[in-house]
């Protein structure tokens, strides 16, 4: 047995076992591998959920959210828009932003 690997014994409900069996069948892998696939997918989902929530609450930036979710910044931006979270730039800020760029001296 690989010394890096740890043993984990767990009692699980029949419906969870059914999911494990389904993944095992679909992926044509043993049940241990099926559990690993499910844990990994679940972790990704939970990480993304956490990143989106923190971003939505204004607690972290996009790049920080991307790190938490294990995505690139571009992928994180896609997730943010898919979940309907929008920039909070206002009309007044837009006007100021345009003016700022136009008022700067030419290179």
């Amino acid at each position: 047995m690989d010394k890096q690997k740890k043993f984990l014994g767990a009692r699980i409900e029949p419906e969870i076992m059914e999911i494990v069996n389904k993944v095992s069948e679909e992926k044509k892998v043993d049940r241990t591998s099926a559990i690993k696939i499910l844990v990994s997918a679940g972790w990704k989902e939970l990480s993304l959920e956490k990143a989106l929530q923190l971003y939505k609450e204004g607690k972290i930036s996009v790049d920080k959210a991307a790190k938490i979710a294990g995505l690139t910044v571009s992928e994180m931006m896609n997730e943010i828009t898919i979940h309907g979270i929008k920039s909070d730039e206002t009309l007044e800020e837009y006007r100021e932003g345009v003016k700022l760029l136009m008022d700067f001296k030419e290179l």
Binding site: L54, Y55, G58, K59, I60, S61, V62, D63, K64, A65, A66, K67, T72, V73, S74, M77, I80, T81, I82, K86, S87, D88, E89, T90, L91, E93, Y94, E96, G97, V98, L100, L101, M102, F104, K105, E106, L107
Partner: protein, 167 residues
Amino acid sequence: MILAIDSCSIILLAKAMVLEELAKWRKIMITKEVFNEVLEGKDKKLLDALVLERLVKERIIIIKENINKKLIQKFKTDFGLGGGEAGSIALALESEDKAIITDNKQGRKAAKIQRLKLSGSIDVIMALYKLNKISKEKAIGALKVLKGQGWFQDYLIETALQEVQDG
């Protein structure tokens, strides 16, 4: 004059096909971290990664290194910013013009608190258009790309589109 820009705005402006026009018009500086964040999309052949790589290679966009690490750490802690965003705010603060382009919610909040001059991607497109740096068709196309990205509130894009259409 020098403008700092973050990953988020580089990605949006590259997708809208106006990043090069902006960088040829104004001096744009980015941090190494921002460069790396955007270039993560290179393996997937993302347009933004390929455009930024070329613009940096051609020295149209400059990478600024040796930014105040204590300041970066402070912004990471105080505002929950990632390395790229924190570095961009620090870079803007260190520059003479103290200006930044960011469409990142938390980045904009930090920029306001630090009293930086603030602009965003829609503002860039409109300024480029108003000063005849891009055509009406290009401005409309760029705004429609941003609309399709879904990043901004619809009314803001619609306002900008109307302003371009009205000439």
